[in-house]
């Protein structure tokens, strides 16, 4: 076991991890940040997506030891009041069914909007093509992603 330091949603944590232990387990089982979902555990489904140093990553594929020194943002830290444009858009479009994939979908879309203010449908689909929603809410996810871009454009510049 190694003792490492992780900065998650602006808070520094000291945790003991096994060699190669993926970040997702540390977030969920040690830090109690269960908003990051464990899906396939093999990097296929995207449910565990978080931002690492501003980049979306699959936390089941990132050893916790390699996530030191870069800020980690999870769905719990995406916004202060649950009002990130993606979160608002997801509610307005009533996207979620079982909802289990949606934190990963939202984190991936939020990252997309960081770099692409007004993504085209192709860009949204490319970003989410390897995210699985078994309930099949994709049509609403497309609409919500467009709506999130519009909501973000309305926000005062930070």
């Amino acid at each position: 076991m190694a003792s490492i330091s992780l900065t998650v949603n602006g808070v520094a944590h000291r945790v003991d991890v096994a060699p190669e232990e993926p970040l997702v387990w540390v977030l969920r089982e040690q830090l109690g940040l269960t908003g990051t979902k464990l899906g396939c555990g093999r990097g296929i489904c995207g449910a565990c997506t978080v931002h690492l140093g501003g980049t979306p990553v699959r936390s089941c594929q990132v050893p916790a030891t390699s996530a030191q020194a870069r800020p980690i943002v999870t769905i719990e830290g995406l916004s202060t009041h649950g009002d990130h444009p993606c979160q608002r858009a997801w509610l307005e479009e009533d996207v979620a069914q079982c909802g289990y994939c949606q934190p990963g979908m939202i984190m991936k879309t939020a990252a997309l909007l960081q770099g692409t203010a007004s993504p085209a449908l192709d860009e949204i689909e490319a970003a989410l093509a390897d995210h699985v929603c078994r309930c099949g809410t994709y049509d609403r996810i497309r609409r919500a992603a467009h709506r999130a871009a519009a909501l973000k454009a309305e926000e005062p510049a930070k």
């Binding site: 076991m1 096994a18 232990e21 993926p22 387990w25 969920r28 089982e29 040690q30 109690g32 940040l33 269960t34 908003g35 990051t36 979902k37 464990l38 899906g39 396939c40 555990g41 093999r42 296929i44 489904c45 449910a47 999870t74 769905i75 719990e76 649950g82 993606c86 979160q87 997801w90 509610l91 009533d94 979620a96 069914q97 079982c98 909802g99 289990y100 994939c101 949606q102 934190p103 939202i106 949204i124 689909e125 989410l128 093509a129 390897d130 995210h131 699985v132 929603c133 078994r134 309930c135 099949g136 809410t137 994709y138 049509d139 609403r140 996810i141 497309r142």
Partner: protein, 726 residues
């Protein structure tokens, strides 16, 4: 998911308890009970409504939320009749015992079965509150109205909040026949209402089973033999325990449980076990061997599930005869949230928590496994990250209880996606032998549909069940209830036994039968030069018929077929897609005798045989639409579910093992594959029908019929492969 889902139920009400200043109503339904009977020991409430003195309204929902919106739709129905602000309703999740039962969530019957009892409960409470206000004011009850949580005295405008009236109301008799609102007066039912759990989901605070954290809780995974019926012969427990964090290796009924401080350690410990398996008697089972059994079975008559006229003679005397065999694959649920359950066995009790569609079954099976009385087993239900029938089984909860007992600690067991694909239960593969006889004028005179498949076996069928013809029709939804009026109909079922577990899967027996039926109707249309819509409408006279005591309303089915076609531009040319062949297909179904649904699918096919579904137009008549936003969501979802089976993955067996392990080799539809979906709901004030499952069955045949329209190729085996069309 019973074979006869439309059980007639009568509901009644009583004051469950009056605790302090609160009005509590139990809402129940018991077979054959008379409305207005005195409270008795046989009263079995299934939903509870409580109004507290501060006006807080709590509804205890007895069904599990897995994305179908039950924690939104049921409270809407209650709020409508009670006349309160929907946004202010608190929702509690029921546990077995505590006077609540009928908690299995399956068969798409939550809204259908709760519709009348919930309305009556809301109306009775409203009536009691209005009467309490009239008594308080000393005025005529008829002069009192309700308005969003208040009783208002119309002549004077005086108002009292519900909370201020509950103490008085709780002393009044419960009206057994309270007046219900006319559907014209609905203010909430029929509106587009967003999911109750939405805000928790998008902020990550929603708690699913795998999210549970209990002080002292250990994590476990299980090494199970990849071949069902096998068992561990040798293993290296010491190697597993050398993995940091691994506490124990406990043999249980289904395999070897590796128990650790973290799930990661448990997974690594399992890798280290190096188990040698005694594979048992089923190591030769394969998809090919089962297919051979199905082929033999479908070639010979089975147990008759419906007989109208003499189809055998009519087929023999037909001027022209069509024959085809359709094949549906094994499918898995592949929900996104890994299965998990928490158990803590201590002091002669067992506490259980997790995502289950059937907490009563969990309670029953855990009690049996541990040898406990039912009341020593408590089950708490969490949100479910994908149910689809998988969580109607209790296997994973029983494992958790066994492990907790073995290691004397609170434990959560988790199944990886591969664990579930390998040792979960499946939609069974089936073959469908279809025959039609046409007379001299090309009119269909006879219809034969023989299904060969295996029964559900999570609980092995008893000898009585195997001898009962209703078990066979109950395993052939969409077959014996064929809605079309062929003069002679024979449907039968040839049963094949299977060693792997077969059980509920979203819409259960209907997708394979509906696929074969709706495609074969199009084959008749093609063979006789008729339009598929025109042929169906011609076959939907007279207006209704009865089979197995249930009535199929052909007019309602006609209406959705017409509406879907009208909205989709049926008969008009499709816009070309460069380099691709395009086509449009129609299919429909009456699910559970009540939800009428039709699709028109638009597809294109590339030179390599790849199929894209561009647009699906749906028309649905499900009776009163409680929440159109939720209904549309279930249709979007059911389309994708059905298309994953029709166009993407299948489960195959070789050497007794499942060959797939995850979304990489058992792919499902992606955002790039998802069609645009357009839903048209037929206005109705009839009783609501289910919506979780009915959207699944007709999508595969609509798409396969569209593929035929585009290519002239009739694909009769799912999932469709590009090589079928290249």
């Amino acid at each position: 998911m019973s074979a006869a889902p439309n059980t007639t139920r009568r509901d009644f009400l009583k004051i469950g308890s009056v605790t302090g200043a609160a009005l509590v109503l139990g809402v129940g339904w018991t077979e054959g009970a008379e409305a207005g009977t005195a409270p008795s020991a046989s009263f079995r409430p299934s939903l509870w409504l409580a109004i507290a003195s501060d006006g807080a309204v709590t509804i205890t929902v007895h069904r599990s939320e897995m994305g179908q919106g039950v924690r939104t739709a049921l409270p809407m129905i209650l709020a409508e009749e009670l006349d309160v602000d929907f946004a202010g309703i608190h929702i509690a999740q029921a546990s077995p015992g505590h006077g609540i039962e009928d908690m299995g969530t399956g068969g798409s019957d939550s809204v259908a079965s709760a519709w009348r009892p919930l309305r009556r409960a809301g109306a009775a409470a409203r009536e009691m509150l209005a009467t309490a206000a009239a008594t308080t004011w000393g005025v005529d009850r008829a002069a009192c109205l309700t308005e969003q949580g208040f009783v208002v005295h119309r002549p004077t405008g005086r108002r009292l909040a519900y909370g201020a009236l509950v103490a008085t109301a709780a002393t009044l008799p419960v009206p057994q026949d309270p007046p219900l609102k006319s559907s014209r007066d609905f203010r909430l039912v029929g509106q587009r209402v967003r999911r109750h759990d939405g805000p928790a989901i998008v902020t990550g605070s929603a708690t699913y089973g795998l999210d549970l954290r209990v002080p002292g809780m250990l994590r476990a995974v299980i090494a199970r033999c990849p071949v069902i019926g096998g068992s561990p012969a040798r293993w290296d427990a010491a190697a597993a325990k050398r993995v940091a964090g691994v506490r124990d290796v406990a043999p249980i009924s289904t395999g070897l449980a590796v128990v650790a401080d973290s799930t990661w350690a448990a997974l690594r410990g399992r890798d280290a076990l190096a188990v040698t398996w005694d594979e048992g008697p089923n190591a030769a089972f394969s998809s090919a061997s089962f297919r051979k059994q199905l082929e033999d079975a479908v070639a010979r008559p089975g147990v008759v599930t419906r007989r109208d006229g003499d189809a055998t003679a009519a087929l023999e005397g037909a001027a022209k005869r069509l024959e085809a065999v359709y094949a549906y694959p094994f499918e898995a649920h592949a929900g996104l949230e890994p299965l998990s359950f928490f158990a803590h066995v201590h002091d002669g009790r067992c506490e259980l928590r997790g995502g289950t569609q059937h907490p009563e079954r969990v309670q029953r099976e855990v009690a049996k496994a541990l040898g406990f009385a039912l009341d020593r087993v408590e089950v708490e239900v969490t949100l479910i990250g994908g149910g689809f029938g998988r969580r109607l089984a209790a296997d994973y909860a029983v494992e958790a209880a066994e492990i907790s007992r073995a290691v004397a600690a609170p434990v959560q067991v988790m199944w990886t996606h591969a664990d579930d694909l390998h040792r979960g239960h499946f939609e069974c593969a089936s073959l469908h032998r279809m025959e039609a006889g046409l007379d001299d004028a090309g009119r269909p005179a006879a219809w034969l549909h023989r299904k060969a498949s295996a029964f559900h076996n999570l609980t092995p069928p008893t000898a009585e069940e195997l001898a009962d013809p209703e078990s066979y029709s109950g395993s052939a939804w969409g077959q014996y209830d064929v809605p079309y009026a062929f003069p002679n109909i024979l449907t039968d079922y040839s049963r094949v036994d299977i060693p792997v577990k077969i059980g509920p899967w979203r819409s259960v027996f209907s997708p394979p039968c509906t696929f074969a039926r709706e495609c074969f109707v199009d084959e008749i249309a093609a063979a006789t030069g008729r339009d598929p819509l025109e042929l169906r409408l011609a076959l939907l006279e007279p207006a209704s018929f009865t089979v197995a005591g249930q009535t199929v309303d052909r007019q309602r089915f006609q209406r959705v077929l017409r509406l879907a076609c009208e909205k989709a531009g049926w008969g008009k040319p499709l816009a070309p897609v460069a380099g691709r062949r395009v086509g449009r297909g129609l299919a429909g179904n009456v699910y559970d005798f009540y939800t009428h649904l039709a699709y028109v699918a638009e597809v294109s096919i590339g030179a390599q045989g790849d199929v894209r579904v561009h647009r699906v137009v749906c028309a649905v008549d499900c009776g009163q639409a409680v929440n159109p936003l939720g209904i549309e969501g279930q249709i979007e979802s059911g389309i994708l579910w059905g298309l994953s089976a029709a166009l993407k993955g299948e489960i195959t067996f070789e050497a007794g093992r499942v060959e797939q392990s995850g979304y990489d080799d058992y792919p499902v539809m992606s955002i790039r594959d998802a069609p645009a979906v357009e839903v048209h709901i037929v206005p109705s004030d009839g009783r609501p029908g289910g919506m979780g499952e009915p959207p699944v069955p007709p999508i595969a045949p609509a798409v396969l019929n569209a593929v035929f329209a585009a290519t002239g190729r009739r694909v009769r085996r799912l999932p469709l492969r590009a090589t079928d069309l290249a």
